[in-house]
């Protein structure tokens, strides 16, 4: 499969999440998307047109711009996604030789650069469509951190912490959770916490394209079905993160071991979007399935550490950049190991 086809298919995979983001956050989100893609395309043209001719048709600049935009807060000033895309294309990609030669994911480079440069602007969230209550403009993950920082550990799940802190989930959430609890879970002696529906369908504040995880996964399914990405890296990435969240995540909320609420953490932040659309980037991820598997585990550990113990609320983008640094080492180490095994077998 050509790299252009892969990039355009990946862009197509972003479409469901982007459409949901535009529906949820309206014209400001559309402006961020347009500016980010336009900036990426303009920078790509400015660098490549004099030397290599027209390269926009390979789709990589479009994909970088779109992914940067989907990881931005909807109310961010427009120069931030523009600079992030420009940084990704000019510094991360073209400085190192262009498509196929960058050692770091351009979109993640741009996003992390923005987080480090304008942490305040990168927290300009907006309330989703139909949520006018005070506090609805804060993403659940950030609200959880704030609630835990304000009142210390509490003996409940992450959604329980949000509920006690008065996080404004939608009326639709109350209806849906109430119906499921009374008709499905009550006979089993179980109950969903308030907010489960909003978190699952992505009717919460957050990055433009990352709130609705089922739609992100639907887009990723297209990439997996068409062979654009392989399952090893995202599955082991998310699996490792979920396992660590389950085992250790509850310590921060006072619930002890094996009670960390991995579902909440998987459905919050940019994690799933990054795991399917940035981490398996064929240029910056290992070449072998074993390498991808190993990198997935490493990324899961890094994201867990950054999210639970770092200053970044999300941590996925920074973890992927760190993972990009060790991808070539994984390939080299695995190649050496393979050649040693072959030598032994030959002997």
């Amino acid at each position: 499969m050509s790299s252009a086809r892969m990039a355009w298919l990946a862009s197509l995979g972003l479409l469901p999440a982007a459409a949901w983001g535009l529906l949820l956050f309206g014209p400001p989100a559309a402006a961020v998307l347009v500016v980010s893609i336009a900036a990426a395309a303009a920078c790509e043209l400015a660098v490549t047109l004099p030397r290599h001719g027209y390269t926009l048709s390979d789709g990589s600049a479009f994909f970088t711009g779109a992914l940067v935009a989907l990881m931005m807060p909807p109310a961010v000033p427009l120069y931030v996604p523009a600079v992030a895309s420009a940084f990704g294309i000019l510094v991360v990609k073209q400085t190192f030789g262009g498509l196929g030669r960058n050692w770091m994911n351009p979109a993640m480079g741009g996003v992390v650069f923005s987080f480090l440069s304008w942490p305040g602007l990168m927290s300009r969230w907006a309330a989703p469509l139909g949520s006018a209550a005070a506090g609805a403009e804060v993403p659940p993950l950030e609200a959880l951190r704030a609630a835990l920082a304000a009142s210390g550990p509490r003996d409940v799940t992450p959604l329980g912490v949000l509920g006690r802190a008065g996080y404004p989930f939608s009326p639709m959430d109350a209806s849906a959770v109430g119906w499921v609890n009374s008709h499905v879970l009550a006979p089993l002696g179980a109950a969903l916490p308030q907010g489960s529906f909003d978190i699952l369908v992505g009717h919460v504040a957050g990055s433009i394209g990352a709130t609705c995880v089922p739609l992100v996964v639907a887009g990723a399914a297209l990439l997996l079905a068409r062979g654009v990405i392989r399952w090893h890296l995202p599955v082991f990435y998310l699996g490792t993160f979920a396992l660590l969240s389950l085992v250790f995540g509850g310590l921060g909320t006072g619930q002890g071991w094996f009670a960390g609420g991995p579902g909440f953490h998987l459905l919050s932040g940019n994690l799933v979007l990054a795991a399917f659309f940035a981490a398996p980037d064929p240029v910056t991820s290992p070449l072998t399935d074993t390498g991808r598997l190993a990198l997935g585990i490493i990324l899961g550990v890094l994201t867990f550490l950054l999210r639970f113990f770092g200053s970044l609320a999300d941590g996925a983008a920074a973890a992927i950049l760190l993972g990009n640094c060790i991808s070539p080492l994984l390939d080299r180490w695995l190649e050496r190991r393979k050649s040693r095994v072959m030598e032994r077998e030959a002997a």
Binding site: P77, F113, L116, S117, W118, P119, L121
Partner: protein, 217 residues
């Protein structure tokens, strides 16, 4: 252990491992070069120690009776350069503390690293004649200092929205770039941003040199 003759003095590990060179040589300077005024002080330190060290080592060679042909072993030459540079760095640090305590506090732990800096970047070249050694060190040190100031200028303007110089008369010492003051690109103030600026500066210099070489051949 070292280059022969009057070439730059660097341990082999630094020559063979660019990352070590980068970390040891540039990182202290890059960390300091967040404000133009700090870069100017650091540049002054590099220049003074570089020139002083080159002249002192040249004189040591001259006093041994065979200028240009070092009578000590190569490992000893490297250690001698380190000792001389360290002594001069300590003198610079003490002078800075006396003359400009604020600058001394701003440079902090990085001022003593001028000595390591010199060895790592290879500006501390020995020459058989003191005057020539001084001029050689001035030439190399000036380029290094200029680079440091340019990097600091770019980082401070973009990363903080200010240009900090020496206060004089009615001038408070700080020029404000109002367009960038409210939301500066803070990433450039971090060490990674400094390395990025330095990398682009090095690439620009290399590109200009390559173009000049291409024209002359």
């Amino acid at each position: 252990m070292t280059d022969a003759g009057s070439g730059p003095i660097r341990p082999a590990a630094m020559r063979e491992a660019p990352a070590v060179l980068l970390l040891l040589g540039f990182l202290p300077s890059v960390v300091v070069a967040v404000r133009v005024v700090d870069a100017l002080w650091m540049a002054a330190g590099v220049l003074l120690v570089s020139i002083g060290s080159a002249v002192a080592r040249s004189l040591l060679d001259w006093s041994s009776g065979s200028p240009g042909a070092s009578t000590v072993g190569q490992t000893a030459r490297w250690l001698r350069a380190l000792v001389v540079s360290s002594l001069l760095t300590a003198a610079f640090e003490a002078a800075l503390l006396a003359v400009a305590p604020a600058a001394s506090a701003a440079l902090g732990i990085y001022a003593p690293l001028v000595a390591v800096n010199l060895l790592a970047v290879g500006t501390d070249a020995a020459s058989p004649r003191p005057l020539r050694a001084a001029l050689g060190a001035l030439h190399k040190g000036a380029w290094y200092a200029a680079g440091l100031v340019v990097v600091a200028f770019a980082r401070e303007v973009l990363g903080a929205g200010t240009i900090t110089l020496f206060p004089a008369g009615g001038f408070g010492g700080t020029i404000v770039v109002s367009a960038l003051l409210d939301q500066p690109v803070r990433a450039l103030g971090l060490a990674g941003g400094g390395l990025l600026c330095m990398g682009y500066l090095a690439a620009a210099v290399r590109a200009v040199s390559a173009r000049k070489t291409g024209r002359s051949t």
